[in-house]
Point group: C2
Chain length 334, copies 2
């Protein structure tokens, strides 16, 4: 591969995919995001970018700058495009669902419908989510039905089914990925693991919605990136893979407890129970046997180790992190 483009390279997972591409390939990596490139201390790929000289950033928005984005892609002719662009916060999607549909459905429809005719693209890898299934138990496989519970999840499903139609009718080289909760250093600070670490350091109470009994399975962002590398290496990757630890995961309260123990804080004193969120799914238990068999993928980083790494990261960057907003800030699609 000569060139790979990562759309939403500023995003937590996207920035780690850039890092993995600079580490594992010799390709030129084109990063595209709607915000300016983040400050180096928030970018996992900062060092490799400098060392390799193979990364180039472009500030473009799939809703507002689609024409410019397509011109850039036509100039660079990337063999692979990895797309993570999405309005991504579940709970706030109830406030204005159409805004989530604008990016995750209409934006994706416009982009991929244009890309389907670009012959230079050999792989189009798109980050989906198990939330398109709604709550699911027992380790569901890649043929499970769409039954999302929130506007965010419904909008992601909407984009997915359009791309699937392109795959069926136009041989669009689609691979959708659905990973359980991805975590790791540089994650958005409002996500459960970094927020818990930050709140404990600041002495703020951690709110457990519905007592924090919803179960989530986690995979480390470098394991997720490894999955994408394996899709790029595969000769004929499938149109959909699950990435998961193949277990039910942990109740959110148990994750918070684990962090409290590691940081030597009292769980009962540091947390409070608040009402459950609308459409909160009880669990997402997806089966990743297909990725393990077809791609030879498996997760390598233990949750405990990943969390320790994050506590160290927050400690190391505390002067910067404490100045950042710790709550979700919505940037409208249009």
């Amino acid at each position: 591969m000569k060139t790979v483009a990562v759309i939403a390279s500023n995003s937590f997972t996207g920035s780690h995919f850039v890092d993995a591409l600079l580490e594992n390939t010799k390709a030129k990596v084109i990063g595209i995001s709607r915000s300016p490139e983040y400050n180096s201390i928030f970018l996992p790929y900062a060092y490799k970018k400098k060392k390799s000289g193979r990364f180039e950033f472009h500030q473009l928005d799939i809703n507002k700058n689609l024409r410019e984005m397509l011109s850039l892609l036509d100039r660079e002719e990337p063999e692979a495009i990895i797309n993570l662009a999405a309005q991504g916060e579940v709970q706030h999607s109830w406030d204005n669902p159409a805004d989530w549909f604008q990016t995750n459905a209409v934006g994706i429809v416009n982009l991929t419908n244009a890309l389907k005719d670009r012959k230079y693209i050999k792989h189009y890898i798109h980050t989906s989510t198990p939330e398109v299934y709604g709550s699911c138990e027992g380790g569901v496989k890649e043929n499970y039905n769409y039954q999302p519970s929130t506007p965010y999840a419904a909008s992601k499903a909407a984009g997915d089914i359009f791309m699937y139609a392109l795959y069926k009718t136009h041989n669009f080289p689609l691979t959708l990925t659905r990973s359980t909760n991805v975590y790791g250093m540089h994650q958005q600070l409002y996500r459960i693991i970094p927020r818990t670490i930050i709140y404990l350091k600041m002495g703020k109470k951690i709110q457990l919605h519905g007592g924090g009994i919803a179960k989530k399975a986690y995979i480390h962002v470098r394991d997720a990136a490894d999955g994408v590398m394996k899709i790029l290496e595969a000769k004929n990757p499938s149109e959909l893979y699950h990435f998961s630890p193949n277990n039910e995961g942990y109740a959110i309260r148990d994750i918070v407890k684990m962090i409290c123990e590691k940081m030597d804080r009292d769980f009962e004193k540091c947390t409070e129970t608040v009402p459950e969120r609308k459409g909160q799914d009880a669990k997402y238990h997806i089966d990743s046997t297909k990725a393990r068999k077809e791609l030879g993928w498996q997760p390598k980083i233990k949750l405990e180790d990943g969390i320790e790494e994050m506590i160290n990261w927050v400690d190391d960057c505390w002067d910067e992190i404490k100045k950042q907003p710790h709550e979700y800030i919505h940037k409208p699609s249009l």
Copy 2:
């Protein structure tokens, strides 16, 4: 029921639903469409409207006039809303898929997200399509997976899954209906049955895409309207019903043959084979046992009789019909 609103009352099926409501209920019927109300000769409900005085028309567009539409609904407080608003033509949806997503996903998301908080609504009945399943065989039931093959079908699925999330999380009183091909008098002239009749009368060749082997099952529009009446009468209707003749239906070429015979024309001379359309599904074979059992519904009008009625309708209205456009004309969403 005091008041019922029909959104897309100008549409072929919508206008027949208005007719059935005026016939079978004592409710005031509010019709809403984005175009001005059609000329009486194209409206099945024209006579009953005049006789009953219970129909009122408002020209409003779900994309452009949502606020006014909600004000109207809040004034009238309909216990039931029947919504057929959609960008509806399959093949043209490849030209500009995002336009189909604008109405069928974003427009529906905006409307139903607002309606979910209106306590006066006891029934919200929404016309979906079996095309959300893609090609399906063997009589699929209401739990079948979304695998649409065209932008039209994907955009309808996108709206459906959002409404399903509202139903799951907010007890939104949703009933989705998926009917096999609906046909009958007053149908859009570019649809296969009226177009065939018109082309035969004009001596124009009928194009059979892919030889016309795709199979479609048909139900008469008055049988479809009867299904909606039965949902309105049901105490606790389900969130999804199929309406179908419970058979595989007919190859399009056989429908055209049937019409040729009834009109005494030579099938071979009147038709020509052209390439198949992108994403044309081989068949939609859906099972309507649930509607038959739970609602006591069954189709009553035989295809042969329905087609004869349409031939007579085209003959009777020929002076007007021959002046109309016989091809699909796209009206953009925005």
